[in-house]
Structures are given as structure tokens and as C-alpha cells.
């Protein structure tokens, strides 16, 4: 049976933290020093390609009648008005998010890529701003803020992360094994015994250092081994502090899912992943966690497309519970985890409005990297905002009336929505329709990333470029707290 972590679970996790965490851990990095507020990054990526039109960037039912947009909801969307007065249409699948509406901001019309529409390429973009991979955002933020720069959990299609040498893939079962195994033996922990190395280990490290100093074939790897062994002591101590994992009090699931109910499984996996992330944050294992979940969003076939209302609602429920967990779990007596965590939720791209050659009732949808929606919340960010928009949003005589020349060039088949031009100075969507595409005109994914880097207080020199020519990707100032 599925029993995701309950509110009671998160309450216990929070109360546990009050006991010893009003002061910083001795092993944590500078961002966690005594007297300073911690700052964590939690990313949740729902891989497969979440159709923004089925969620937080919906279209009127008239678009379906015109044969332009597959709409599995068969009803008109509702208006979602932000605290800033900006609006977007949302489907009923987004209803669970109403519970946390004022705690999150929505960014629509994010251009992921004009050249690549594969899962792996766009997942690489999501993590690194480059279709071919490179330095990922999470370890860039997490470095020096915990024993590990980054913990990834789930299935990652994009894997070319060049700055993830002090990172690991970790699922809940593995974390439990690690903690149980090492805590039992005392090899890890905070005690003297745990930190002490025998002469055999010290001799091994001496040999590694000697080989690292030479020019032999193992020179580089021996250095990495020695550094790894030293760092493993800090990691071990942090792992021994991990408390409050789902199932610790016998109230979690056994990790098995009913294959007939994948949507419940998704909610459980997300809730357990969030609980794991908070436990890792609290213990000082890492300050950056990415959960990669794989609901059935890749709706190329009509049957999967028809299931999207239920699937997307499960995604929304999972997100709402994640935000609630952050809000309701205490970091210390003064603040919740939402006060010290920046949350980023999204998918690698959106989807096309329909496919060619099928009836509107029988169509699936394909990949669309010309627009995307991302949800942001937590520390360093404004909440309750709606920023950006996509086009293909107005009709005249049964055809779209707001497609730019640039859009027409990038999407000659007219199957996609595309992010509308954005005025970064004024912080609002532009009304013009450029004839040619320029990254300077749009909210691109690197703009979202740079906004996050600013929220974490990193210098502008850390910013990612909008393209490989080094074009700046402006920060989304309306989102910064």
C-alpha cells in the first residue's frame, strides 16, 4: 500500500531538528557557519516533457474546436492571477497548487532551445544550460556547503555533468543502507572511534600521496583516492547524523509500488524524495538535491495524451505536497525549510499542440523546447508571481493571431507555442512580434538559472550565457526577493 510521508512525519523531522540544530554543524561549509542562515537548493524535475498547456499555461477550449490544440480536459481553463496582478490560464489539473498558490511563482514562456528537442539534450540544458552538458547548476551552488556538493536521486537521462566529482546518485534505499551499515560499525560517526584511522588506512593514504606526487599512470587517480578518503570522514560523520527518513518510525511505505497505480507511486516517490532531501540538508550531507521523477508525460500516443489530466494532477499534487512539506517542517525555532530552501520544479520541455495527420481527438503530442514552465519558491525569491508568457494564445478567424515571424521560422508547421518576447528592464511580457529570433528577446533557461544564482548570492561572474556566443542571459528581477 502506498503511504507517502505524512504531515506527522515532516513534523517529527522538524521537531527532531530543533533539538540540536539551532546552531550550525561543525562540519558544514561557510554558508552554514554559526549565526548565518543556511540556503539549500531543491530541484524537482518531472522528466518526459510536461505539456505547459495541460498545466499552468493553458488555452481556451475554442482552440480545440478550431482543431489547433489537443485539449484532453474538454473544458475551459481557469484564471490564475498572481499577487503581482499578472495572469495565466490553468487547467483543473493545477487545482492542488491552489493550496500553495501564494508560496510559489510561475514562469511561463521559457525558451529551452531552438535547435534541440531530445530528452537527453534538454535535460542537459536543464542542468547545465548546454545541450551537450557541462558544469551543472546544483553542484555550482552546493560546493562548500555540505559534505557533498550535490545529491541526485532518481533516473537522470542527461548525465554530462563536468563539475559533479563530489556528488553522488543516491536513492532512499541506498541512503538507508549507508546509514545503517556505517552507523552500526562505528566507521562513520562523530565519535573519536569513528574518525580515527588505523595504521593500515594511514599507510594506504601515504602510498596514495606518494603515487600522486609521481608521474605514473595512477598519479591523478591516486590523488583523487586520497582526497576521497579524507572527504569520506566528513561525509561519514554527516551520514551518521541523518535522521527522520521515511520509514524510520515505521510509518513509511516499504518502497514497493502498485504498478496499476503509477500516479500514487509518483506522489509517494516525490514525498519520500523531499523527506530525504530535508534529512540530508539537516545532517549537512549536502545543500543541493535534485529529484528526477518520471511520470507518464511523454504523450506521443493518443492514449497517453488522454491520461494527461490525471497524470498532470498527480504531478501538481506532488508539487503541492513538496511545498507544504517545506513550509511545515521546521529548520529551527524561527524558520521553516521553505525559509532556507530555494525550490525549482519543472520539466525538460513542453509539448506540441497536436500532431499532423490525426484527428484532434486522436492526436498525441511531441516535444516542444520553444516554451516551458517552471515553478520557483522559497528563499531568495518572490512568491505569488506570474512571469512570462507563451504565444499561440489568441485566435482570429480560426487561426492563431499572435505568432511572430521568428516563431514562424522556428516552427514552420505551426504546431508549437513559443515564449513571447520579454522586457527584462520593465519585467513584463512585450507586445511586439519580432521577425527574427534573438536570445536577447526571450526568457531563456539560462535567465532562470542566473536568477537562481543571484538568489544564492553568487557573483555575476558565475552567470551562464544565453548561447555559445556568450550573449548575456538577464536575470528575472521581478522574481528576486
Amino acid at each position: 500500500m502506498d503511504t507517502p510521508p505524512s504531515r506527522r512525519h515532516f513534523l517529527r523531522l522538524g521537531l527532531g531538528g530543533l533539538v540540536g540544530l539551532t546552531c550550525a554543524h561543525p562540519l558544514l561549509g561557510p554558508a552554514m557557519a554559526a549565526g548565518t542562515s543556511p540556503h539549500f537548493l531543491l530541484q524537482i524535475i518531472f522528466t518526459g516533457g510536461l505539456d505547459a498547456a495541460n498545466f499552468l499555461d493553458a488555452r481556451p477550449l475554442a482552440f480545440k474546436a478550431a482543431g489547433l490544440w489537443q485539449n484532453p480536459f474538454n473544458e475551459d481553463p481557469r484564471v490564475w492571477r498572481g499577487l503581482d496582478g499578472n495572469e495565466t490560464f490553468v487547467t483543473r489539473a493545477a487545482d492542488p497548487l491552489q493550496r500553495v498558490k501564494d508560496s510559489i511563482s510561475v514562469v511561463n514562456g521559457v525558451v529551452m532551445s531552438t535547435s534541440f528537442d531530445g530528452h537527453e539534450q534538454n535535460e542537459n540544458i536543464w542542468h547545465t544550460c548546454d545541450a551537450f552538458g557541462g558544469p551543472a547548476l546544483a553542484p555550482q551552488i552546493g560546493v562548500g556547503r555540505g559534505a557533498l556538493d550535490w545529491v541526485q536521486s532518481g533516473n537522470f537521462v542527461g548525465k554530462s555533468f563536468t563539475n559533479s566529482t563530489n556528488s553522488t546518485l543516491l536513492d532512499l534505499a541506498t541512503l538507508r543502507d549507508l546509514r545503517t551499515a556505517f552507523s552500526k560499525s562505528g566507521l562513520i560517526g562523530t565519535g573519536r572511534r569513528a574518525q580515527m584511522e588505523g595504521p593500515g588506512q594511514l599507510l594506504a593514504r601515504e602510498r596514495m600521496r606518494a603515487l600522486a606526487a609521481g608521474q605514473g599512470v595512477f598519479s591523478k587517480a591516486s590523488g583523487a583516492m586520497e582526497r576521497g578518503l579524507v572527504a569520506s570522514k566528513v561525509l561519514g560523520a554527516a551520514l551518521a547524523r541523518v535522521k527522520g527518513l521515511p520509514g524510520d518510525d515505521g510509518d513509511g511505505s516499504d518502497g514497493t509500488d502498485d504498478p496499476a497505480n503509477p500516479r500514487e507511486a509518483l506522489k509517494r516517490q516525490c514525498a519520500e524524495g523531499v523527506a530525504m532531501a530535508l534529512a540530508l540538508f539537516r545532517a549537512g550531507v549536502t545543500s543541493a538535491v535534485t529529484l528526477s521523477l518520471y511520470p507518464s508525460l511523454d504523450a506521443h500516443d493518443a492514449d497517453t495524451a488522454r491520461e494527461q489530466p490525471k497524470t498532470v494532477e498527480a504531478v501538481a499534487e506532488a508539487i503541492a505536497r513538496a511545498v507544504e512539506a517545506l513550509k511545515e517542517t521546521s529548520w529551527d525555532e524561527h524558520s521553516s525549510f521553505l525559509d532556507c530552501t530555494t525550490l525549482v520544479v519543472g520539466s525538460e520541455f513542453s509539448r506540441t499542440m497536436r500532431q499532423i495527420g490525426t484527428q484532434i481527438e486522436e492526436t498525441g503530442t511531441d516535444h516542444n523546447a520553444l516554451t516551458n514552465t517552471v515553478i520557483l519558491a522559497g528563499k531568495g525569491l518572490q512568491s505569488g508571481r506570474v512571469v512570462g508568457a507563451s504565444d499561440a494564445a489568441t485566435l482570429r478567424d480560426g487561426a492563431f493571431s499572435d505568432i511572430s515571424g521568428a516563431h514562424g521560422i522556428l516552427d514552420p508547421g505551426g504546431l508549437k507555442a513559443m515564449g513571447r518576447p520579454f522586457d527584462f528592464g520593465a519585467g513584463r511580457v512585450r507586445a511586439d512580434r519580432p521577425n527574427t529570433y534573438s536570445v536577447r528577446d526571450h526568457i531563456t533557461w539560462p535567465s532562470v538559472v542566473n536568477t537562481l544564482l543571484d538568489a544564492f548570492g553568487l557573483p555575476a561572474s558565475a552567470h551562464r550565457a544565453a548561447d555559445r556566443f556568450g550573449t548575456p542571459a538577464p536575470v528575472l528581477k521581478p522574481l528576486l526577493a
Binding site: 530528452h119 537527453e120 559534505a147 557533498l148 537521462v157 548525465k159 566529482t165 563530489n166 556528488s167 553522488t168 546518485l169 536513492d171 534505499a173 541506498t174 541512503l175 538507508r176 543502507d177 549507508l178 545503517t180 551499515a181 556505517f182 552500526k184 560499525s185 566507521l187 562513520i188 588505523g198 595504521p199 593500515g200 588506512q201 594511514l202 599507510l203 594506504a204 601515504e206 602510498r207 596514495m208 606518494a210 603515487l211 599512470v217 595512477f218 591523478k220 587517480a221 591516486s222 583523487a224 583516492m225 582526497r227 576521497g228 578518503l229 572527504a231 569520506s232 566528513v234 561525509l235 561519514g236
Partner: protein, 205 residues
Amino acid sequence: MKIFPVNIIATALTITISFFTPALAETRATGRERGTLRGREDMNAHLSERLGTPVDVLTFVVPGSWPVGLETLLGAIEATSTGSDYVSVKPTAVTMLVWEKVAVNLSAALAQACDSDSRKRNPLLLSAGALKSVTGLCRSRGNTPTQAALESAWLLLVGFRAPRSSFESWAKALARPEFTELGPKRFTTEALTAVLLDPNVLLVN
């Protein structure tokens, strides 16, 4: 076009030598980069052959149990969208945490050969030759094993993967007080831990 016979000869020699050099043959067989961790499967094969008994390093992370979640942290092949990839084969804090655990616990199990109770001396069911090699380290406090015993124990775990100088460094270090003052079982555990954590043992050559 002018052909350089030296290049052709060199290439031919390289190819020929690779078929007769275990290290090169192994790299080719595993498809793995030199200097990455060998991983669970490769280490299991190596240790099982050397010790004459089936060995699974996973069971030494937590003695007596089989922590399924840790499998991939010991190095494993995982399917990707474009084929397969080796994961957890870079030396990091996480992988070294696990491999250190394997080294310490496996060494402790081997050092049972020094137990005063003969019924407890071979929990791993080592081959007679392997047991004899380990027992050679069980010297009394204040002494060091003979050079022959040290060499036998080194070869037992390393085989011929390491240069002679690595053995000599290890053997010399065992004469230091921090080792000689240990009792036989602890001495053997520490000596073998150093061997099992040696880059020549853990890394793809």
C-alpha cells in the same frame, strides 16, 4: 604518399604487445578508463581467484548482510539512452567511503587466520595456499614477519599488478612501531587493509 615504416612497425608492436600484456588486455576487456575504480564485478573476480573462494565485496560493506542499495556505489554498469555507462567508478568521498569499508572488513575477516581458536581461523573458506599466506603475517607482538611471508601475503592480494617498489614500500612501513606494537590479528588486519586500499589493487590498470 610517403609511408613511414617506423609508425607501422610501432603500431603493429603495440597491437601485438597488447594481446600479451594482462593490464592492457584487461582495459580492453572492461572498456573502462585506466585510473577508474575497478568496480564490484572486477574486484570479485580478482579476489575470488586470488583467495581460492567465492568473494563478493558487497558482503563486506556490512559483514554478513547484502545491502542491495549499495550495489551501484561499488561500481556498476547502468543502461543509458545511448547504451550503457559505468557509474560510481571515480574515486570520490562516496566511493572511497564504501571501498574503505570493504578493505577494513575483508582484512579483518582474513586476519581471523591468526585466531587462537583453530576453528575460527578460516571463516571465508580460503584455499589452503591462501590461508597459509595470510597466516604468515601472524607474528608475535614486537616482531615483523619474514620477508618471504610478507611477499607471499602481498602477492596473494595483489598478484603481479604492482611494481616491486610498491611491495617494498609496504613491507618497509610494516616495520614501524605503529605496526610492530600491534597484536597478531590487528597487525594482519592493518597490513592487509593497506594492501587492499593500494591504488594498484583498486584501480583499472
